[in-house]
Amino acid sequence: MSIAPIELDRPERKAAAKLVFDGVSKRFGRGPDAVLAVARADAYVGEGEFLCIVGPSGCGKSTLLNIVAGFERPTAGEVRLDGRTVERPGAERGVVFQQGALFSWMTVLENVAFGPRARGQAAGAARDLAMTYLEMVGLAGFARRYPYELSGGMQQRVGIARALANDPAVLLMDEPFAALDQQTRELLQEEIKRIWRRTGKTVLWITHSIEEALFLATHLVVMTARPGRLKAAYAVGFDADADRNVTTSAAFTEAKREIVGLLRAESIEAQRQEGVGR
């Protein structure tokens, strides 16, 4: 029931891991205007683990996730999934965005069936599959609605069902609940934990909320201000099932204090850079 520091650059663990960051750097632009967004990130995520990355805003979290998704190419190093180097987007890496990524011209069901259809499944089978995942996120009754008819929280559920419908090897989530109100966010956090346990997916989760990270993660990485480096890593074990109020427990508060301390230094550093940069 606490957090314990771990080492993320262990070659023997890396060799066995599901998802590996191997010296990943990303520079945007050239010359004096270049921005080094991520600097030599080394990390690994084991099969079925839930890795949360927390860090001050602008530190390169999204950049890191976009590299895993294949939307961006690293300028140095590489990301490997199941031993294969990531080069482009692919269905084995499901992505859930913060908002605005649903297809407004398709019904909820068509959105979720999109992946299976695109990968060649027959329409009927894809629809059945989509329905299964809509049930999993509690939206079976909204299959025929359009995304704009749903609340923000429901839209995120659709996004999660859509990513799951492809049965991806890893789920990539970039602050998926950041635009939601507190109440909806907490409900969805419980639900994502339930879904994660049920599906056994490997998850890479980005957030700026320490509480969210501690609640969800099996592993947690703290990123530094730009250029983003991986500053510290922890194994996390808070059992919300045993204790529904785990987030108010002393151990949780203690863990939170430790991470907040780390991040505060980083946020101050990030703001100082902003001042120098402009």
């Binding site: 992505v95 965005f97 990524a101 999109f114 695109a118 749903l150």
Partner: protein, 285 residues
Amino acid sequence: MTARNLDPDIAVQAGEAADDAGAGRRAARRSRTLSLASFAVMLLAWTALTGSGLWPPVVESIFLPSPLAVWQAFVKLWNIGYQGRSLAHHILISLMRFGIAFVFCIVVGVPVGLMMGMSASVRALLDPPIETTRPIPKLALLPLFIIWFGIGELAKTIVIITALFPLMSISAMQAVRSVSLRKIQAAESLGASRWTIFRRVVLPASLPGIFTGIRVSVGIGVTMLVGAEMVATSDGIAWMALSAADFIQTDIVLVGVLIMAAMGYSLDRICRVIEARLVHWSGKD
């Protein structure tokens, strides 16, 4: 099912939707009433200015005939036609000139714009001719087209096309270029091929922008029609109004103007109805 009961959003949702629909209907009814009132005021002013047989006209009927006189002119034109041809002929020939150009631009101009949006090479190839000819007032090309294509239908149709084509292709191109990168990335990471992404993501996402181009084209197209029927013609509704003006038959001129207004208005309505069916999500993203 348990999750449904858990989520406060879901319960609130249905009620909100019903409220929205009610407010929307009330707003629509109010604007319809206001539009009708505005029409009625215009008609009253027109009736008052022309006297309409009730009092001496403020404006001579040679400048502005009364609504009744215009209606009578319309009935007469409908029954005996104008200059040897039926009114329906004049209306249909004008609609045809506009329609052929309009449909051609939708069938060719929009796909060209889509390709320009999708491919930087196509854009590099086609942007210069479209951009350099854009400032030319297209009606000024009509004499040239008459020399090239004769005084038949071709020159008229082509002059309308030259005005509508860049409009539709450029708006289609811009629509494609402004499709949210996030939606394309979502499709990519769901395993969609380039063709699937085009067909099921880029194309539908561009439809609102394409329709904007099409609707603007209706207005410009009807204006171009008037210009195209100004020279080397002996039929068409704009021609009827123009030639009636030579004989100061103001009532016939007004019938022509009103018919063209009705044409423009109904074409715009048709586009709007099709748009509302096809892009129900527009503006709700």
